[in-house]
Subunit: 713 residues, 2 copies
């Protein structure tokens, strides 16, 4: 087994070897430096470093040009209204092509072919090694263990090794902005309405899927052993690990396609919510399974104590990360509320960015999972901090994270294509691959259908059969599965998993991604393409990121405003029954205490907190809250009549957001006084209305488009 | 000398040791990984790696919290209108405090104190070393040469070594966004009007300053030798190198202070333009001086052939970088012109970002200087591409680079403060420091006064005496000097230079930065604080970045719109005489050929190119250009009368920018038809008007604020 371990990825030592973009740039500058002493022995190394640097710049340039090409083709596709291939699929195809060229097109030009010198030591590997060359000492750092067969190739396949850069880049550079953006754009009615179901699918469903896939794959592995296809060890825990990494569905592709097609809002919320949450679950699950590894390292079979330890680790990491993320969000909300930072949008945006980033670091420093923390930080920021930001900062932050997200996402998908050819330790096992394809479908089925059945027992607004089929179909695998798979490819089992994961991602993104539109028609799920809807004189939906039709319409902003579908009148009557008591409890608490404390909106704390908290309450309540409240009293009588109409007509309701509300402040007054009115009564109707108003608020604040919705009258 | 070389920064090997933020994050994730085989020898290293990772996260978190604190204090200062200390000075003070705490507050807790094992080798240092531990091979990479005295400290002062991260980070991560932003926001009338003078100060002036300082410092070094203060070699080339790194004035601080104070526009343009351009000059100059090093490595005295080689290198690198930057800008302009990308602002912004970044890589890959290329790329992007972008993308790109710039800048200044205490090889030499302070003043004087005298011979609008004194005073040293100084601190001379540079930066930023306002009054240079001006009913000036007074006014955008000051009527009469023939030639060429080819504006090529180029011309001309031209013919008669009035009244003039011009398109028509009218005549008056209109355009497009300028009638 040791002989099969590949040079690059042996555990903890891989990080300093990171052939990642930023280090490439770093290296690149080295060429500018000249060694001062000009000793002959350093000149060769110097020249090598310079050559290597130039190579690095070229490599990174390749990626950048690849992305540029992708962007231009995306534009062409959007422009020509090509729908059968999604942009992520496109990025993968370009990556594949470049991978083929790198692999087969370029002769393996290595700038030096000699085997590096070696020296012997009795002790185990150390992180720092000193080399004594005729009295001079040189410091060396450990890069990783190296396969004895590959010693002579260390320097030779440099080009391919360089483009295959460190997997941790995905986890630490590329995933955080994607996940944060997902969390930050999650603020919407349909999501909160279906929160229970989403959590069920994400937690229970992913766990079920993980175990089903794990056990099925163990069967496949046993079969391979019988047939003689298995050449190295493949433990039960490896199978479970595969189940964990492949169970996470991808938010990226689903989000983009559904938002463009504007399929049913609840379906969208279920799919998007699940895929965002199960990313977090998959990360924690996979690291718990690694921790589950019994300490003896000999028995990889089931062990009750290790299992419970694993569950404990899961819960510990998950809740820790959650708390970290929420805490940073709350701190940011408090800071933005109690300073007048909103007059300086640049400072505000910078602070927002830094605080969100520090979540990641804080979680990592405490031993939790940074990516998970970032998700919950994003949700908290969207729910509280967003309301305190100035109008400009809301746009800035959205746009900043949107650009980061877009670049990171396309980079990952390009890289996936590239990795199929440039990654050097692929193990293609047909039985395993076929088994995995079957297993993920069975796993997904065991996730969706039984849980939907159980959920439907509690839901009055059932999850219909065709919705279930669609959820089954839309279980694309994407960036997260890839990132988890590439994270550790040291063993034979992991290499096989990586190859299989890559193929599954390709297949699901291309086939399922491209087949979403036909599938929706086939399942009779209503959706409307934007051009059709515009012909009917409605401009009710907003596109995600890039939108093929904005050139003709008001070429407005393109935030990822995640609006659901739906005749709202129908939606209102439906959702009343769905809000579970837990959610109502949370909502009341949030509305009466958290919102007033953390933001400028909501009822004044003086009216919601008990009397003995008076001084504290008035200290924490923002002046705006009183204004809202006053305004409410003044206009209470006519608002009582108007407010329903207001919301049904989808008027813009805007947070009275300090001095920075911009031009929409006029509308804001009525919106929030209506909101304030509901402070006393927490009836479901009021809740429903608030959710409505929040959605409208998001729309109007996020996009600054006033849209005519005639069809509601 | 070898004994004094410090462990971290010996030439080309420093890059992989980069204790830079992103690697910190990378490292951080390593703790999540578990070594699969669980061999005992790896467990210790594993634990170390985990501990080290946690330490890294904490370190980076320190920086982030430092930045957060800085942002909050900046807000407080802006809020309370504190002017004696600029935000960059503030960031340095915080950095200093944290540096003191790190240095003296925390006991040197090292997680392992053992001296690393060493092994001997006959050959010179190699980049890759293999370690054979009982049959297993481990790969090691060279980190750098290490001082034999410090072998035992290698692992001990880990904390301080980690916060002192790799200087290349400054060059490759932090400087590019700052410099690009400077270039991107450079599009303004006063800059182009004073282009000749700016180039003279930046090129000739910096070279003079470099040689004056270099020679003076050589005298100081000789003096130190006599007094016995010099303990190691200090060559003439080292002195020249010091002159090069310390000659670059800082755009950051000058820009911020002057823009806030709205001092004279020409003075502002001269200072800002000079400081941006001389950054580029200083980079290239310093690397040319390194290249000048005579090959024998023994004689560090003057050598004619090496000198001319050096000049050749300077010209080659500079022109190469310039061409690279301009070329990428032109390509981006062409792409944005000939695609309808402007309907998808996200794609457009992403493309813009990637293209700008690829400039850096391209230049580095070709052996030029990335930072310099990025500057010219920024200028080209602002001049051409900016006109093709959609209204939203113009805002997005501005804001994106503004945030990046803001964060990078504050990080650098915080780090400077930190470095004073955490950098471990400071050499404080009082004589050298005092000599350097004197030398930079003398060098600056030799730059400003003689050149101003020469320039005044050619200029009709003289650079007045008080302007010259102000330029003398405003020669702050900042990020660039620091980045150049920290780039190489391997030798005794370089360490002394680094320490001195740090002190000079501190002094100039605090004293000169804080003293700008009193100095302006003392020199009788007119300036007006924003609040004063607003009281007079004018809202003519726009603030840089953060603006203390926006809460009361229209809380508009805060781009760095670099507008000069000045009664425009006066300015118009003045500048006619200043435009040199070279500039007029360039202007005509730019207006008649480049603008029409690269953007949607300008006269149609069919009317400016000779007849035989007809087909090509009509192919390259955008439909908008014809429209502008048609419009021009129709309304020519009344425009001839109106246009002057239009510009004098400061009406908004907007590029007719495809379908995406937004709400301001109506005004755009008249603005650009007036522009089109001037296509035939390139008289100075027309040029002046165009410059005016461009400024107005920038204002109105950049900030979307319509401002009343009553005082012009």
């Amino acid at each position: 087994m040791d002989a099969l371990r590949q040079p690059k990825r042996s555990g903890a030592f891989a990080a300093l070897d990171t052939m990642m973009p930023v280090v490439w740039i770093l290296l690149s500058a080295v060429s500018g430096l000249k060694a001062e002493d000009g000793g002959m022995e350093e000149l060769t190394t110097e020249k090598e470093a310079e050559e290597s640097h130039r190579q690095d710049s070229v490599n990174l340039l390749t990626f950048i040009l690849l992305l540029t090409l992708t962007i231009l083709t995306i534009w062409l596709f959007k422009h020509r209204r090509v729908r059968f291939l999604h942009e992520t699929g496109l990025a993968m195809i370009y990556g594949l092509l470049v991978g083929v060229i790198l692999r087969y097109g370029i002769p393996a030009t290595s700038y030096h072919n000699k085997t590096p010198p070696s020296c012997s030591l009795k002790e185990g590997p150390v992180s720092t090694l000193l080399l004594n060359v005729s009295g001079k000492f040189f410091e060396y750092t450990l890069k990783g263990e190296i396969n004895s067969r590959e010693i002579h190739n260390v320097e030779q396949n440099d080009m391919l090794r360089k483009v295959t850069f460190d997997p941790e880049v995905f986890f630490n550079i590329l995933l955080p902005p994607i996940i944060f953006h997902a969390g930050y754009s999650l603020k919407k009615r349909h999501f909160f309405r279906n929160l229970g179901s989403i959590i069920t699918y994400a937690f229970l469903g992913t766990a079920i899927s993980c175990f089903v896939i794990g056990n099925l794959m163990y069967g496949v592995v046993k079969l391979m052993q019988v047939v003689g296809q298995l050449t190295d060890k493949f433990y039960y825990t490896d199978c479970l690990f595969f189940g964990a990494i492949i169970s996470a569905t991808d938010p990226v592709t689903v989000l983009a396609i559904f938002n463009e097609l504007h399929a049913d809002g609840d379906l969208y919320a279920l799919l998007f919510g699940e895929s965002v949450m199960n990313d977090a679950v998959a990360i924690v699950l996979s690291s718990s399974i690694v921790a589950y590894q019994p300490s003896g390292a000999n028995t990889h079979m089931f062990d009750a104590s290790a299992f419970f330890k694993s569950v404990g680790v899961f819960l510990g990491i998950f809740s820790g990360s959650f708390v970290m993320g929420a805490a940073t969000g709350v701190v940011t909300a408090l800071v933005t509320k109690f300073t007048k930072l909103h007059c300086f949008p640049l400072l505000e945006t910078a602070l927002f960015f830094l605080m969100s980033w520090s979540t990641f670091l804080l979680a990592e420093a405490c031993g939790f999972t940074g990516v998970v923390a970032v998700l919950f930080c994003g949700i908290t920021q969207a729910h509280y901090t967003y309301n305190n930001l100035s109008a400009e900062s809301t746009i800035r932050t959205k746009q900043l994270f949107e650009v980061l997200h877009f670049l990171a996402e396309n980079f990952i998908f390009s890289y996936m294509g590239l990795a199929l050819f440039t990654f050097q330790n692929h193990i293609f096992s047909p039985i395993f691959i076929i088994g995995a394809f079957l297993a993920i479908f069975i796993g997904r089925a065991f996730n969706i259908y039984p849980l939907s059945f159980l959920l439907n027992l509690g839901r009055r607004h059932k999850i219909k059969g065709n919705f279930q089929h669609m959820m089954m179909f839309a279980g694309l695998r994407g960036a997260m599965a890839f990132a988890l798979a590439i994270r550790d490819t040291a063993t034979y089992a992991r290499q096989m998993m990586f190859t299989t994961t890559l193929l599954i991602v390709f297949f699901t993104v291309w086939v399922f991604g491209g087949g979403t539109t036909p599938m929706l028609s086939w399942l009779h799920i209503s959706f409307a393409l934007q051009e059709e809807r515009r012909q009917h004189g409605k401009w009710q939906y907003f596109s995600v990121g890039v939108d093929p039709d904005q050139d003709a319409g008001p070429c407005g902003d393109s935030f990822q405003v995640l609006q659901g579908d739906g005749p709202q009148a129908e939606g209102q009557s439906k959702t009343k029954q769905e809000s579970a008591w837990l959610f109502r409890l949370w909502y009341t608490f949030d509305h009466n205490y958290l919102k007033p404390i953390l933001t400028h909106s909501g009822p004044p704390l003086t009216s919601t907190l008990p009397a003995y908290c008076g001084p504290l309450a008035s200290c924490l309540t923002s002046p705006q809250a009183y204004e809202n409240h006053e305004q409410l009293r003044d206009h209470d009588s006519d608002l009582r009549n108007d407010s329903d109409l207001t919301f049904t007509f989808g008027d813009t309701a805007i947070t009275a957001n300090g001095a920075s509300g911009g031009g929409a402040d006029a509308a804001g007054g009525s919106g929030w006084s209506a909101n304030g009115k509901r402070s006393g009564s927490t009836s479901e109707e009021a809740l429903e209305r608030e959710l409505d108003s929040r959605e409208q608020e998001l729309l109007s604040r996020g996009t600054r488009l006033v849209f005519p919705i005639e069809d509601h009258i």
